[in-house]
Structures are given as structure tokens and as C-alpha cells.
């Protein structure tokens, strides 16, 4: 028996698939006669519209000023001479094989670690982040790849959502009155299931991830760094996260999205950067990028990026 979220595995390996939803045995599919679309429908419990790439013509025009820029960013031999920029209203994708320096790059951008060379510019001004506190103050916020590094496991959902507000509180005179309202708005907007709200570790992975993202909706931000936000979560929540990221970008946020699922690039992103060996080796237009074109670059094959303007 194999329990998995990855539909490709089911399609390739399995003879039969049982789909559970809300604790009930929903469907048993013979894989000989099923395709990915049938699986998705059974998991969602409703006829699924096929996911379409979002309409980018409108987005391109609204793309605004450069929100976050890296110039020759370097961290020892792990990240080398990385330069790129994300504009307001843009979702910039990032693709790499495992361990090509993408974790370290996100650590640098979120202030978790200081670069050994190069600089980070926020809104055109060079910044030195001594800790994530500095980055958050500048509106650069992180959704970490590991939810265990993001959540306060034994604290209630509301407390987890309000965490970044703790910096905004008046220091001695209690919590600002709009805190419960902001938190409730985030719960509603993300439709977080709050039946197990007393301790966030009891939520499902998808709901935990919503809390991690929702935290920044509560506090407000300008640039969102997402490290593989859909790893290991259910398909319903994945779709909600795609829609949310597009919505946030349309609202003027700049988003940098690293993902291990190449299909997400086409669904969510405007441009995609490909990393290999600590460097950005290629940049492609998300609308025209294919799995093979991205994978070729991710293996360090193909044309170097120098040919393209940044």
C-alpha cells in the first residue's frame, strides 16, 4: 500500500487507487481506466476545471517598480554571483534541482544569514539584514520550506497568525484593538479550518501552510519569498494557494516562488529563473517555458543567461 499526494506516482505505479476525503472512503479507481483529471475530481469532490495559466497580459502592464533586487549576491561557494530583480505585481518563479544553493539564497534574502558578497536592494536602497527582524521591517517576508521552522506548534492558530504583529504592539499597553479583526479576516480569506485551533500542530499540513502564509496577510508585506509552499499538501489547498499568490501579485505584491513542481511555473509565474551550482544559469518566460526547457537548464546544460538582459 502506498500513501501519497503525488499524483504522478499513483499514475505510474499503482493498479488501484482509493481516495479518502474528510475521513471517508470516497472512490476506488482502477488505474487502467483513470487519468489525472479523474483523480483530481475525486479528491476535490467536484468537477474540476482544468487549471489554466492566468491571463498575463493584464499583469505585465501592471508590473510596477522593482521591489527586491539582488546584485552579485554571494555566500561562500554555495551561492555565487546571483543577480535578479522582482517587480511589484510580478510572480518570479525559481527552479533548481535539490541542493543547488536555493535554500541558501532564500536564507540570504530573508535575513536569516548574511551574504559574504554582493548586496540586497529593497525599493532601490541597499539593505543589510542582520536578522529576519530587519527583513520583515523592510517588508520582505518568508514562507519557509519546512513548516516546523515556521509555526509555534503548541500555540493556538490565532496566536500563530498574530505573531508578526507582536512587533507592532505598543510595548507596554496591550494589543492593538484591530488584532482580532485582522486575524479573523485572514482566517476567512484563506478559509482555514479552525476545528482544531487550540494547537496549531494538530492541523493538517495544508491548513498549517495556510497559517504560515496567513501570518503575513495579517501583518502586511511588500515582497513574499515562498520556498516550495505546496510540498506535501492536498490538491485543494494547492489550488487555493495558486489563486492566492496571483491575487496577491495583482494587489501589487512582489513574489519570489521556488518550487519543486515544474507544473506550477506555468500556472502561477510570469518569469522563471533556473539555478544550477549556486548560479542563475537561465531565465525563461513562464508562458513559453516547458518542463524540458527548464530541466535542461537546471542540469546545467543549454545556453547561459548572459545572452539575456536581466
Amino acid at each position: 500500500m502506498l500513501i501519497t499526494h503525488r499524483l504522478a506516482e499513483v499514475l505510474h505505479i499503482c493498479d488501484r487507487a482509493t481516495i479518502l476525503r474528510d475521513g471517508r472512503n470516497v472512490t476506488v479507481l482502477e488505474m487502467a481506466e483513470a487519468d489525472e483529471h479523474r483523480l483530481v475530481e475525486a479528491m476535490l469532490g467536484a468537477p474540476a476545471e482544468r487549471l489554466a495559466p492566468s491571463d498575463r497580459s493584464a499583469i505585465k502592464q501592471s508590473a510596477g517598480e522593482i521591489a527586491l533586487e539582488a546584485r552579485a549576491l554571494t555566500s561562500r561557494q554555495i551561492v555565487r554571483d546571483v543577480s535578479f530583480s522582482v517587480r511589484q505585481g510580478e510572480v518570479l518563479g525559481m527552479v533548481a534541482l535539490e541542493g543547488q544553493g536555493q535554500e541558501r539564497l532564500f536564507e540570504l534574502l530573508s535575513g536569516d544569514r548574511q551574504p559574504t558578497g554582493g548586496e540586497i536592494l529593497v525599493g532601490g536602497h541597499a539593505q543589510r539584514f542582520h536578522s529576519p527582524y530587519d527583513a520583515v521591517q523592510q517588508g520582505v517576508v518568508l514562507v519557509p520550506g519546512d513548516r516546523l521552522r515556521a509555526l509555534l506548534p503548541n500555540q493556538p492558530v490565532r496566536h500563530n497568525l498574530a505573531t508578526p504583529l507582536f512587533n507592532r504592539l505598543q510595548r507596554w499597553f496591550g494589543i492593538p484593538a484591530d488584532e482580532p479583526q485582522r486575524v479573523s479576516n485572514a482566517i476567512d480569506r484563506l478559509s482555514i479550518d479552525i476545528r482544531a485551533a487550540s494547537q496549531v500542530r494538530r492541523l493538517s499540513g495544508g491548513n498549517q501552510q495556510k497559517v504560515v502564509i496567513g501570518r503575513w496577510l495579517v501583518s502586511g508585506f511588500r515582497t513574499l519569498l515562498c520556498f516550495d509552499p505546496t510540498r506535501g499538501i492536498d490538491i485543494q489547498t494547492k489550488r487555493e494557494i495558486y489563486a492566492l499568490l496571483r491575487e496577491l501579485a495583482a494587489g501589487g505584491a512582489a513574489i519570489l516562488l521556488y518550487t519543486s513542481e515544474l507544473a506550477e511555473i506555468r500556472l502561477v509565474c510570469d518569469r522563471v529563473l533556473i539555478m544550477h551550482g549556486g548560479q542563475i544559469v537561465d531565465e525563461q518566460d513562464a508562458a513559453t517555458a516547458t518542463e524540458s526547457s527548464m530541466l535542461t537548464a537546471a542540469h546545467g546544460l543549454g545556453n547561459k543567461r548572459e545572452a539575456r538582459p536581466a
Partner: protein, 339 residues
Amino acid sequence: MTTAVLRERTGVRRRAAWQRGLAYNGWAIGVWLLLVALILWYANLIPKFGAFQMSSIGKNSLPLIYLAIGQAVIVIGGGIDLSLGALLLLTNTIAARFMDGQPLVIVILVALATIALMALLNGLVGYIINRSGVPDIVVTLATSYIWSGLALWVLPSPGGGTAPEMRWLFTGSTSGIGGNYFVPILMGLIPAILVYYISRRTRLGLSIYALGSNSVAARLAGLDVERAKLASYAIGGAMAALAGLATVAITGTGDPRFTVGANATLNSIAAVVLGGVALTGGSGSVLGVVATSVILIMLNPILTAMGILANNAQVIQGVLIAGVMMVGGIATVLRERAS
């Protein structure tokens, strides 16, 4: 989303509001009820129960209440401080030596200065823990010897004294015997409520809870975790200073013996654990710790009143602590299983 679903969801939330309060403070409410039951039982156990007994329990609990509150804040922040008892010792000796025979103004100045000094010293310890990355338990073990040594240096043998007004402030009586029992009760409750408010309603306190719950996540969420750690140790130091001042007020002298401090530290940890503050950090409440401090102090006279010898009483005390903790552990397991 349909309105039916919306209504159902808000219904869930409304029911959760008071349940949440109960679940959040369930243990604290439990130990307060236990304390009330113990006092009623004790009142029936001894032939005469009145103001004298109340003030005796009240004032004798004060040092442990302060120390346990300080320890609770540090433990909630994910640390543990083995030096609080030694800080009590140091404050006690400084106060006894420099308050002895002095006018009231000097006495008050010495009291305020020691509180500030201990907050500063222990805040420095918090800073060292932040910077060095050495575990809290190691650093505070080392500093506990330093503070104890300094205490012997300030006051080599028991002695010294304090002003009658100082004794009244913590005991309700200028001679330290009998007196108005409202004074020690208020002196216990006011700092407790103040620290409770800071811990649950200010950004500093909530940062301390977040730090104890998951320090990595708290940092990545943009909280200033180093400041939170430092502040929790500074609060612990200030509370230890209050405990030292209370000790000099109750006994009327200074006592630099190492065992006094070591016992106080161990008692503070026992009170914290019994009070529902998990040693893993990030949970529990300062208010529960106040009740368990009083309970720990009351156990001795109760067991004596029951005619149990002091040596046996200590065994029973240990068994009771283990028993209460097991009840708590089993309750947690059952709740997890029910969810």
C-alpha cells in the same frame, strides 16, 4: 462560500471562545481550587485558625512566589535559571548589610538599587546565553556559584538587619510577627498580576511565549528573539531581588549560606512545573505558579499538624509532586486521544 457553511463556522468559533479560555487556563484554575481546598482542610485540621495563621502562610510564601514567577517567565521563554536562588541570597545579604540601622530613605534606595542591579546582572546572563550559544542550564549553574560566592563576600556570617517599615511592607507587621495578613497577600498578588499582564498582553510577553514555543520560527517570523530572551532573564533577576528583600523582611537578618539559595532554586522549579508551565517552554501561566508556591510552603505545616515527622514529610512531599505531575500527564494523553 454559502451562508449555511459560514454560520456553522462562526458557530464553531463562538463555542471555542470560552472553551479556549478554559483550556488555556485549565491547569491554573485547577491548582487555585486545590489551594483553596488545602486552606479549608488546614483550617479544620488545627485547633485555632485565624489571622495569625493566614499572615504566617502569606508572608512565608512570598519569597517562593516571587522566585517562582521569575522562574516561570524564564521557563516560558524556553530557558531555565539555576541561579535565581543565588540571586536571592545575594540580594538578601546586600540588603541586610546596607539597610542595618539606616534611615528609611537609604533603606528604600538600597531596595530599589538591588532590584535594578539583579535585573541588570541576570539580563547580562541572558545576553551571554544569546551570544555564546551555551545552554541556559550550564551558564546559570556557573553564575549561581558566582552569586553565592559574592553573597559570602558581602556578608561572611549571618547577621545584619533592616528597617521596621521594610518588615511591615512584606509581613504586615513592623516586628515581623503576626500582623495584617492583607499586606503580604497584596504584595504577592500585585507583582503576579503585573507579570501576568506583561506576559499575556504585551509584545514582549507574547514574544517570550513564541520564543519558548519554537525559537527558530519566532526568529523567522521577524521577532526580536534575543531581546525577548534577555528580557525574560531580567524579569527573573528582578523577581529574585524581590524574593531576597522579602527574606530579609521576614527573618530580619541576612543569611549567606549556600543551601538556602540552592533549596530556593529547586523549590522554584518545583512550583513552576506543578503550576502547569512545561519545561519545554511556550506554555502555561504565571498565575498558576503563584498557587503552587503557596501549596508547597503549606505542605510542611499541614504534614506537621497531621503528626508526621519532618523526615517522613519530605518523602511525602516528593510523592505528592510526582503524583500531581502524573495526573497532569495522563490528562494530556487522554485529551490527545480524544481529539
